[in-house]
Structures are given as structure tokens and as C-alpha cells.
């Protein structure tokens, strides 16, 4: 039904001044434009500096960089679901739109959270190819198209931590490393040179918070913006961990 009033966007954002601050909701009403997404709405709020009821407000603090869903910065909980804010198109969301920071990670301010735990996990599993040096040693190992087609999708993981946010096992009780890290173990264990650290990587997934904490809820694979086959990676790495653990038992 046509109305005389201009089309608007209703959006509610959960704000918090500091890590120990009290979370509170703030509401905004923005003029609608074609092609808007959650990030352009946050930009608009910064430029208008006003809440829905006309109070002056500060710009919202949030993480964002590439706005093309490839840097992994802008994961947020939007209408109750974890997703990337840059690809969250306003016209495809029910209003009022709610935007909250990730719940499994410490809030820094407003929508900005601290996800450094993932980068620490990547150190723990040695997620790299052990290069001797960057001097000229000629070409790398030949690899089949099939191997490249298997590994490239895993290598597109953007470290957004959506899989960890959605995982019921990722919490302080389990210390679970989460799906993203396990997929990287699969990636490097499958690489012709990276394979040489396979044993150490699997060892790292055995102790506290290791791969056995996965409860196969399959939430990770549902929320992954890059549609990485996380559960497949987990079951394959899990099998490798098991084989190694059993082997270790006999070696003792």
C-alpha cells in the first residue's frame, strides 16, 4: 500500500561503552536507499549522529575493512544470527533489524570484539608450510588439479570466527579450538611440504580443548560464509588424530 511517507529503515543496535560497560539498545531510523547493507547503515548513523528519537549520539565502534566478505572483520549477530555485516542486505532483512556483537568473544566496545584467540590457535597448530628460507630454491612441488581443487576452498577461510560463535562447544568450559583451526590443520597436513609437521599438528589437537570436544552439532558448516566443508574436515582430522593416538599407545 502506497503511503505519503518516505520509506525508512528501522534498526536497533546493542551498544556497550567498554568491556565492563552495561549493554543497552539504541534505535535508529534511516532514509531507505536501494542497495543498502548493515555497514552502509552504520556509516549513515555516523554521518547523522542521531538516534530515532532525535538524541545526539556517537558513531558506533565496529570492525570492518574490505566490505567484500573476504577480510573477515565484520561478523556480527544480525537478527539473531551470526553473519557478515557487509553482505547483510537491508532489503533481505526483517525490520526492525537488530545488530549485536558476537556473544562468544569479549566485547571491546559496541560491535567490536576481540577474536585474537583464533590467531593464537593457528600458532598452536603450526598452520604454515615450514619454509627453509625465502632465497631462490626453484619451483615448488607439482600438484594435481584435484588436490588444488580440494585445498583452495579451505584456504578461503576468512578467520571471521562465525563457526566458533555458532558452535555450542566453543566456550570457557571446553576450551575447544573450533572448526576454523581444525580445517587449517587439514589444509596444511594435505600440502606436500606442509605435511612434514602433521604429527605436531595432530598432537596439538589431542589435549585440552582438542578435537574430541566437537559435538557434531553441525552449526559451523551452516553459518560459514565461505561454505567451507568444516564438518568433513573435522571428521577427517579426527580420524587422523585417532590413528596417531592409537599408534602412540603401541609405541610406548
Amino acid at each position: 500500500m502506497a503511503t505519503a511517507t518516505a520509506k525508512t529503515v528501522q534498526i536497533k543496535i546493542k551498544r556497550q561503552d567498554a568491556p565492563a560497560g552495561n549493554p543497552h539498545w539504541e534505535e535508529y531510523e534511516l532514509p531507505w536507499r536501494a542497495g543498502m547493507n548493515v555497514i552502509s547503515s552504520l556509516m549513515e548513523i555516523a554521518a547523522t549522529g542521531q538516534t530515532k528519537d532525535g538524541h545526539e549520539t556517537s558513531a558506533i565502534t565496529y570492525d570492518a575493512n574490505c566490505l567484500e566478505e573476504v577480510c573477515g572483520s565484520c561478523a556480527m549477530v544480525i537478527n539473531g544470527k551470526v553473519r557478515m555485516a557487509c553482505s547483510a542486505l537491508i532489503d533481505k532483512l526483517d525490520q526492525p533489524i537488530t545488530v549485536e556483537p558476537l556473544k562468544k568473544f569479549p566485547v571491546v566496545r559496541d560491535l567490536r570484539v576481540d577474536r585474537s584467540v583464533l590467531f593464537e590457535n593457528l600458532k598452536r597448530v603450526k598452520a604454515w608450510v615450514p619454509l627453509d628460507g625465502t632465497y631462490d630454491l626453484g619451483e615448488g612441488p607439482r600438484q594435481s588439479m584435484t588436490l588444488q581443487e580440494e585445498l583452495y576452498p579451505i584456504s578461503r577461510c576468512i578467520s571471521c570466527c562465525s563457526c566458533m560463535e555458532a558452535c555450542p562447544q566453543f566456550n570457557d568450559d571446553t576450551n575447544f579450538v573450533g572448526a576454523a583451526t581444525i580445517a587449517q590443520v587439514k589444509l596444511f597436513n594435505s600440502h606436500p611440504t606442509g605435511e612434514s609437521l602433521k604429527r605436531e599438528r595432530l598432537d596439538a589437537l589431542m589435549g585440552d580443548g582438542g578435537i574430541h570436544e566437537c559435538g557434531y552439532a553441525q552449526n559451523c558448516v551452516e553459518v560459514c560464509p565461505k561454505e567451507i566443508q568444516l564438518t568433513k574436515a573435522i571428521s577427517e582430522v579426527s580420524r587422523d588424530v585417532m590413528v596417531q593416538a592409537v599408534g602412540d599407545l603401541f609405541r610406548k
Binding site: 552502509s40 558513531a59 574490505c66 566478505e69 566496545r109 590467531f119 630454491l137
Partner: protein
């Protein structure tokens, strides 16, 4: 000088990580500063690939031909010896990246596959799907993470560079930076600093660049005396997807894999593009440039699209847009080679480019200009080096597609060891504490003034004005009258900045405060771009003036060098001869055989 030099690297994109690796390998300690976690740097956005004349397709490609394509593509404005060094090093860089585990696409023999890109007739571009930059950045990030776990590199992620610490003789002794959580301002001592701070897209408001690409660090260093070269050369990418928050890149690889650009021959033709018969479509790039077709260099393609839209009035539905069509290509091949970019279009526009021609338009993409550096990657201030998009060295007046990734890595590889060498020969600062203290106080003073400002100018709105102004008058088509007016407005904006309104006075993770600081540097850098363009009365590469439509080597085969003049609060200019010792300049024409 200590036995083990300390090198600070600012920026953790491809150039910064490449410099970090070489610096650590050369035996120095590295402190690596980045606004974002380095894995989230803008290099991830590079899509199509990385150039190297590996000649794996039996075409007779060579590094000499790569050099020729690059300097010709750049309209002869680049000094040629460093370009030659880069092209010669490129095949080795690809091999190294391959050893690091980059999942490059393969041939049936298991060798690297190569695709064609703009400005060359050879298959010279190695690629990892359509997210090559992401894959390269990750490979370097993983190696740096390894160094970090061995305590050879210390990362400062979430810190923003504010300025260089200079001693009484104007020699760099470290940096001043701000913690973006606590807003604490600190100085860090170093024997040399390598700046790898990337592009300046935010100066143009919306661009294909990431949010952090403001050019603020370059602007800050320019204000401290670092000279800025060829600022007027701004690359506008012919194919971007217009958006509310940014312009998303549609990679040149779409054309490299056979994508065709066209418009309906009839103005305002409202039919579904697929129902328009081929003889009623105008493939204008193929008609105007039969040899290179859709793969002419970016500046040429961008001007052609502007011409078709604004002079012929043939934009789709009367809008500034043309079709980029992939629908004639087997979807299986598209998925294999272009999936990443097709996904971007699908997600952000909602149409499937496998079955519907994409709607695209040129968008600001890259700065060829940047901080002036010598062949060792050192700027005009001793101890400050630069690599990657923030310096000017490799691309002349126009960058060829897939040359940026190689220039970032090569520049970083050159800068790292040269910074270490410089550091080893450096005399100590006799008044070290004073240099650090003075710079910290100066920066804290700027912060205190900003925090107490009670003006009326909203920084985000001022930024929008800046972006619209710069995009309108300082990108594809330039007129002296409009440039003069723009410079006047920029001067006013620098004055208006003094009356800024900072609504958020908090001392914790205050992102609008950080942005407001960046804005001042952006305004000053904008004047360098605009005045540089004003003074160059010719057309060369990306710089096009209808009133001076041809290249003028007699007067302008010169590098523009801008330096900040404190007395006038504006740039002053000098010009430097270009080293064309390897490839004699010739007319640049893509519509006939070269």
C-alpha cells in the same frame, strides 16, 4: 649501533609482510604495526592474479617483454631500472609463493596455470581462483606467524601510525603510534622504518579500497617532510559494482577469461539483455581496439566506457552503467576460474552473472603515485623506507592488472634488506630521549586539542563532501578550471577542519576520534593530487585532460615531486627527469599493432 638492528614496519599487507620476512631473515628484530589484524589487510581484495613471465604456455614470453608491457602500459613515466629488476625477479617470486603453499590453479601436468590480463598479449598471470590476493597474503601471514612464534617478530595489531620520530638532523629514529583501544600515544625506537601503508581510496569517498586505506600515514609523513611523487596518477578501474558503502571490484580476470563489454545500440533499450540480438549490441572495446579488445589497459577501458555513457548517451537504462557479459562461457569453467568474484556479484547485487550480464561502471581503484623512493626504496627522509602501493616507483602513469601484487612483494623484499643495511651503518642519536619525548608531546597536543574542540563540522559529513568533490573533478576527466576550484574548496575544508565537532570524547576505542585524525592528513594529500594534476598540462596514462589530449614528452616526461611548505600550508612542486635508459619512449596506442 647495536649488533642487532631494530626495524619497524608499518602495515601488514603484502608489502609489509614481505618486508617483515626479509628483514627478520636478515637478522634484525621487527616490530610490525597494523591498524587491523594483518590477515585482514586490504591485499585480500586483489582478485585476478600476479604477473610473472614464466613462459609456461609456449608463447615466447620473457621478462624483457614484461618490462616492455609494464613501462608502455605506464606511458613511460616509471624509472625503468627498478621496473626491470621487478620483472626479472617475478618468476622467482611466483616459485617462492608456490613453495609457501599458495593454492595456485594448476594445469593437467600439475604445473602453474596462467591467464591473460589487460595490457599484454601473453598468458602471464598466475592465479588462485579469483582470490589471489587473499591467498598470497595468507601465505605470507603464515610465515610471519611462524617468525612471531619464534619471537623474531613482534606484532602491534590495533595500533595506528601517527608520525615518524625525527632527530635534530631530520633522521628517522622511530615512530609515534596510538593504541586504538586505550588511545594511548607512545613512541617506539627503531633504526629504520618501512612504510607499507597501501592505498588512499578513502580520499575519493567510495572506492574499491578497504576502509583502512585512507592515505593518512602518507599524508602525515608528507607534512613531516617526506616528498610525494606523481600524486595526480589515480587509477579508475573500468569494472566496479556501484554500492551504497563502497564500489566493489569486478576483476579484470572476468575479461581475461573471455568476458565482453557491451551496451545496447539503441539508447534506453529496456529489453532484457539476453533477449537483445547480437547485431543490436555494441561491443565498443572490441570495435575500437581490435588487437587487445576487452583487454586494453584500465585507463583506456575506463575512458571508453565514459565516452559511451556520457557522449553517446548509451548507458543501460540511461544510467551510468554498461554490461560485462560472461553468459556465453561454460558455467563450469566460470566456477573453476572465477568463482570468488561471481560470488561477490551474486551476494551484493542478487543476480547470477553466469546467466545475466553484470552491470558495471568505473570506480576509483589504485594510486600509482605515492611517497617518492630511491632504487633502494628509501624516501627523502633518511631511515624511512616505503614499499607497496604507498610508494610511486613501479607503475608510471598507469598500472597494469596483476602487476600490483608483484610490485608489493618485490618492493618489500628490496626494502627489508636495504633497511637493515642502512641501520647497520647508522650513527646513534646523541639526543635520543629528547627526540622521542618531543614527538610524543606534539602528538598528545594534537589529540588534546581535538578532544576539547567544540566546533560544528561533522567529520563524517566533511569526508563525504571531500569524496564527492575529488571523484567529480580529480579522477577520469580533468579540466584546469575545475581543478582550480577544487583546490580552493580543499583549502577551505582545511580551514573548516579547525572547527571540527567531535561528538565522542571517550578515551576508549574511539573510532570517530581516530578517523577525524586521519581526515586532516587526507585533506592535505588531496591538495597534492589536485595541484599535481593542475600543473601537468598533457594527457598520459590515467591522467586525461581533454584540453591537452596528447602526451607531451618534451615538457612532462618528468616525475612530479610535491613537498609540504609550512609557510603557505600547501604543497610546492619540483620535477625530476625519468630514467628511460632501457626502453625508448614511443607512442602508446592500443588500437593498432604495437
Amino acid at each position: 649501533m647495536a649488533a642487532k638492528p631494530k626495524i619497524i614496519i608499518v602495515g601488514g599487507g603484502l608489502a609489509g609482510l614481505a618486508a617483515t620476512i626479509k628483514t627478520a631473515e636478515a637478522g634484525a628484530d621487527v616490530d610490525l604495526f597494523s591498524i587491523v589484524p594483518v590477515k585482514r589487510s586490504h591485499s585480500v581484495c586483489a582478485q585476478g592474479g600476479i604477473n610473472a613471465a614464466k613462459n609456461l604456455k609456449g608463447e615466447g614470453d620473457s621478462t624483457a617483454k614484461h618490462l616492455d608491457d609494464t613501462v608502455y602500459g605506464g606511458d613511460f613515466l616509471a624509472n625503468q631500472p627498478p621496473v626491470k629488476a621487478m620483472c626479472d625477479a617475478a618468476p622467482g617470486i611466483i616459485d617462492l609463493l608456490d613453495r609457501m603453499g599458495v593454492p595456485f590453479n594448476r594445469t593437467s601436468e600439475g604445473l602453474l596455470d596462467f591467464r591473460r590480463f589487460g595490457g599484454t598479449l601473453f598468458h602471464r598471470t598466475a592465479f588462485a581462483g579469483a582470490t589471489t590476493g587473499q591467498q598470497l597474503l595468507y601465505a605470507l601471514d603464515e610465515q610471519v606467524r611462524r617468525f612471531e612464534s619464534e619471537n623474531r617478530v613482534k606484532k602491534y595489531e590495533g595500533w595506528e601510525f601517527l608520525s615518524a620520530v625525527l632527530d635534530e638532523k631530520n633522521v628517522c629514529r622511530g615512530i609515534c603510534a596510538m593504541d586504538l583501544r586505550t588511545m594511548e600515544v607512545r613512541t617506539f625506537v627503531a633504526d629504520a622504518v618501512i612504510m607499507c601503508t597501501g592505498g588512499i581510496g578513502a580520499i575519493f569517498g567510495k572506492s574499491t579500497n578497504s576502509v583502512v586505506c585512507t592515505g593518512s600515514s602518507q599524508g602525515s609523513l608528507y607534512l613531516q617532510g617526506v616528498k610525494y611523487a606523481n600524486g595526480e596518477f589515480i587509477q579508475v578501474h573500468p569494472t566496479s559494482i556501484p554500492g551504497e558503502d563502497k564500489l566493489r571490484l569486478m576483476s579484470e580476470s572476468a575479461r581475461g577469461e573471455g568476458g565482453r563489454v557491451w551496451v545496447p545500440k539503441k539508447a534506453g533499450d529496456a529489453r532484457d539483455p539476453k533477449s537483445i540480438p547480437v547485431n543490436e549490441r555494441w561491443y565498443f572495446l572490441e570495435e575500437w581496439y581490435p588487437k587487445y579488445g576487452n583487454l586494453v589497459p584500465r585507463d583506456v577501458a575506463t575512458r571508453a566506457i565514459f565516452k559511451v555513457v556520457y557522449e553517446h548517451g548509451l548507458g543501460i537504462d540511461g544510467q551510468p552503467m554498461v554490461y560485462l557479459d560472461l553468459t556465453h562461457i561454460d558455467p563450469k569453467i566460470l566456477d573453476k576460474k572465477l568463482e570468488g568474484i561471481l560470488e561477490i556479484y551474486e551476494k551484493f547485487v542478487g543476480d547470477d552473472p553466469r546467466t545475466t550480464p553484470m552491470k558495471i561502471f568505473p570506480g576509483m581503484h589504485y594510486t600509482m603515485g605515492g611517497m617518492w623512493v630511491d632504487f633502494d626504496q628509501q624516501t627523502t627522509v633518511p631511515g624511512i623506507f616505503a614499499a607497496g602501493e604507498c610508494e610511486y616507483q613501479y607503475h608510471g602513469a598507469n598500472r597494469l592488472g596483476a602487476n600490483s601484487l608483484v610490485s608489493c612483494i618485490f618492493g618489500g623484499f628490496i626494502a627489508g634488506p636495504n633497511a637493515v643495511k642502512y641501520a647497520k651503518g647508522l650513527q646513534g642519536d646523541s639526543n635520543a630521549e629528547r627526540s622521542q619525548e618531543m614527538e610524543r608531546r606534539r602528538q598528545e597536543g594534537i589529540n588534546a586539542k581535538l578532544m576539547s574542540s567544540n566546533g560544528t563540522e561533522n567529520p563524517f559529513r566533511l569526508w563525504r563532501e571531500l569524496g564527492e568533490l575529488m571523484t567529480k573533478n580529480a579522477t577520469v576527466i580533468r579540466y584546469n578550471k575545475a581543478l582550480d576550484e577544487t583546490d580552493g574548496i580543499l583549502g577551505d575544508m582545511i580551514e573548516r577542519y579547525k572547527n571540527i565537532n567531535l561528538s565522542d570524547k571517550s578515551n576508549w576505542a574511539n573510532s570517530s576520534f581516530a578517523f577525524t585524525r586521519q581526515l586532516e592528513n587526507m585533506l592535505h594529500l588531496s591538495r597534492v593530487i589536485v595541484q599535481g594534476a593542475r600543473q601537468r598540462d598533457e594527457s598520459r596514462g590515467s591522467h586525461y585532460k581533454p584540453d591537452f589530449p596528447t602526451r607531451n614528452d618534451a615538457d612532462f616526461l618528468k616525475t612530479t615531486k610535491a613537498s609540504y611548505d609550512a609557510a603557505t600550508n600547501a604543497p610546492k612542486f619540483e620535477w625530476e627527469a625519468v630514467d628511460t635508459s632501457l626502453v625508448p619512449p614511443r607512442e602508446r596506442k592500443y588500437d593498432a599493432a604495437t
